[in-house]
C-alpha cells in the first residue's frame, strides 16, 4: 500500500503526525509531509488509523498500482 496526500485539503491539524511520526510530519506552513509513502503489512493498521484521524480527509491509502 502507498500513502497519498492532497495538500490543498490539509489544514495542519497534525493528527497524522501525532499518531504516526514514521510516515507523517508537518512542514513550516503546517502542511502534511509524507516521510515515507510505502506502508508494510504490519504498519497497515496504524496508518489506517492516521487516515481516519484526519479531520480534513487530506490523506488516504491506496494499492501500489492505483
Amino acid at each position: 500500500m502507498r500513502i497519498h496526500a492532497d495538500i490543498a485539503r490539509c489544514q495542519g491539524y497534525g493528527n497524522c503526525a501525532g499518531l504516526d511520526s514514521e510516515h507523517f510530519d508537518l512542514d513550516d506552513d503546517g502542511l502534511v509531509v509524507i516521510r515515507r509513502e510505502r506502508v508494510t503489512d504490519d504498519e497497515d493498521m496504524i496508518v489506517r488509523e492516521a487516515v481516519r484521524s484526519c479531520p480534513a480527509e487530506a490523506i488516504w491509502l491506496a494499492d501500489d498500482d492505483d
Partner: protein, 407 residues
C-alpha cells in the same frame, strides 16, 4: 462468542468512524447505525467555524466514505436499551438486537436557566449553523453569552461578517477556564484586535424579547445589551436520557472502563462526547468533548470488538483546536490552572507565532500554539514521551530559531 450484529447509536463522528473502523478492520457482519437527525452524517467542528464563515459548505462536511458500508437508519432516535436481552428499541417502537453495542449519542448545548429559549440561537446541529449563518449575514448586533471556544468561534465569524459583537463572560477573562489567564489573554487580544467587545466578571440575568426580531440581554449588574442575535455557549450535557431505565452507570456521561467498555453491561461500549472513561494513569474518570478523542475511541472500540484477546486501554494526549480569524489555535495536553506557564514568541520561518507551554515539576503538561501546527505536533510528540519542558523548548527552538519570552 461470534459477533455478527453490531449496533451503533449515534451518527456523528464517533459513531460513523466506529462503523468505518469496524469495516476497515475486517468486520463483515450486520452493522446498523442509528441517528436521531435526518441529515446525512456530517462533521461538527465546522458548524462554529468554516461553515459559519462560508469558507466551506454543507456538501464538504459529510462523514460517509466509500470504504465503510452499513445500514444507516436516520431520523429516528434510540428510545431505550435493555442490556440483559441485548436489545435497543427505537423511538418508532422497532427493536434491534445486538451482539455488541456502541453508544455514541454525544451531547447537546446547555440551556440558559430562566431564559426564553426561542430568543437564543442554538448551535449544535447542521440546520442551526445554516440558520445562524443567515442571521449573521443580516449584520445585526450579536451578543454571545459565555466566552468559551464555541462562543469565541461564533464571535470571530460574526465579526468577520461585519456584525458588532459583544461576548459576556462570567470569569475575569474569557478562555481562562481552558487556557489559564496568561494564554487566555492572547485569545482576548485576538478578539480585541478585531473589534469584539469582551465584558468579563458579569453574568446574564435574562434575555427578553424586543419588538420585531431583536432581544434585550439583561446583565446581572443592571446593564442591558440590544441584540439582533443571541448565542449561548455555556457548556453541554450528555445525551443519556434514553438510557434512563437501562441500569447503565450514568452520571455526567456513560461510565466506562479504560477500554471504553461500559461497566456492568456485557458488550456495550461508549465513545465520544457522551462517554465518561476511566483514565488509568490519572486514576479518575474523564469526559472529553473533542473531535480527536471521539475518533481515537472509535478506533479503539472497533479493535476491542474484533480482537477481545488483545485489549488496549485508552490513554491519549488530549488535542483540541479552534479556528478564529484565520488563526488555528491548537491545544495539546491538559491544562491545570496551577501549572507553571511560559508564553513565548517564536520567530518561525512562516512568521512570528505565540506559544504557551505548561509544566509541572519540569515536565511538559500542555501546550497551546497560535497558527503554528508544526510547533503543536512537536509538543504533542513530546507529551506522548513525557518530555521535560526544557527538551520541548530545545525542539521548538530548532524549528523556529530563538524564542522570546512574552510573560
Amino acid at each position: 462468542m461470534t459477533i455478527d450484529h453490531v449496533v451503533v447509536v449515534g451518527s456523528s463522528v464517533a459513531g460513523i468512524r466506529a462503523a468505518q473502523a469496524l469495516r476497515a478492520d475486517g468486520y463483515d457482519g450486520e452493522l446498523v447505525v442509528v441517528g436521531a437527525e435526518s441529515a446525512a452524517p456530517y462533521d461538527k467542528p465546522p458548524l462554529s467555524k468554516q461553515l459559519l464563515t462560508g469558507e466551506t459548505t454543507t456538501a464538504d462536511i459529510g462523514l460517509l466514505r466509500a470504504d465503510g458500508e452499513f445500514d444507516l437508519r436516520l431520523g429516528v432516535a434510540a428510545a431505550s436499551l435493555d442490556p440483559a436481552s441485548k436489545k435497543v428499541v427505537l423511538a418508532d417502537g422497532q427493536p434491534i438486537a445486538y451482539d455488541a453495542l456502541i453508544i455514541a449519542t454525544g451531547v447537546r448545548a446547555r440551556m440558559l436557566p430562566g431564559t426564553d429559549e426561542t430568543l437564543v440561537s442554538p448551535l449544535r446541529e447542521l440546520k442551526d449553523a445554516v440558520a445562524l449563518r443567515a442571521r449573521l449575514a443580516s449584520g445585526a448586533p450579536v451578543v454571545i453569552i459565555g466566552g468559551g471556544f464555541i462562543g469565541a468561534e461564533v464571535a470571530a465569524a460574526a465579526a468577520v461578517a461585519g456584525c458588532q459583537v459583544t461576548i459576556v463572560e462570567a470569569l475575569p477573562a474569557p478562555f481562562a477556564r481552558v487556557l489559564g489567564p496568561d494564554a487566555g489573554a492572547l485569545v482576548s487580544e485576538l478578539h480585541a484586535a478585531h473589534g469584539v467587545r469582551v465584558l468579563t466578571n458579569v453574568t446574564v440575568a435574562g434575555v427578553e424579547k424586543l419588538p420585531g426580531d431583536g432581544a434585550l440581554v439583561r446583565l446581572a449588574d443592571g446593564r442591558t445589551l440590544e441584540a439582533g442575535t443571541v448565542v449561548a455557549g455555556v457548556g453541554c450535557v450528555p445525551n443519556t436520557e434514553w438510557l434512563g431505565d437501562s441500569g447503565l452507570p450514568l452520571a455526567d456521561g456513560v461510565h466506562t472502563d479504560e477500554h471504553c467498555a461500559v461497566r456492568g453491561a456485557a458488550d456495550v461500549y461508549a465513545i465520544g462526547d457522551v462517554a465518561r472513561w476511566h483514565d488509568r494513569a490519572g486514576g479518575i474518570t474523564r469526559r472529553d468533548e473533542h473531535w480527536t478523542n471521539a475518533v481515537e475511541q472509535a478506533n479503539l472500540v472497533a479493535h476491542q470488538i474484533l480482537r477481545p484477546d488483545d485489549p488496549r486501554h485508552y490513554a491519549s494526549v488530549p488535542y483540541f483546536w479552534s479556528d478564529q480569524y484565520g488563526v488555528k489555535i491548537q491545544l495539546v495536553g491538559r491544562v491545570a490552572l496551577d501549572d507553571a506557564v511560559q508564553v513565548l514568541r517564536c520567530a518561525t520561518p512562516a512568521g512570528d507565532r505565540n506559544v504557551a507551554l505548561y509544566s509541572r515539576d519540569g515536565r511538559l503538561t500542555a501546550a497551546v500554539t497560535f497558527g503554528w501546527p508544526r510547533g503543536s505536533v512537536t509538543a504533542r510528540q513530546a507529551l506522548q514521551r513525557g518530555a521535560a519542558v526544557t527538551d520541548v523548548l530545545a525542539a521548538l527552538t530548532k524549528l523556529s530559531g530563538p524564542l522570546t519570552r512574552e510573560v
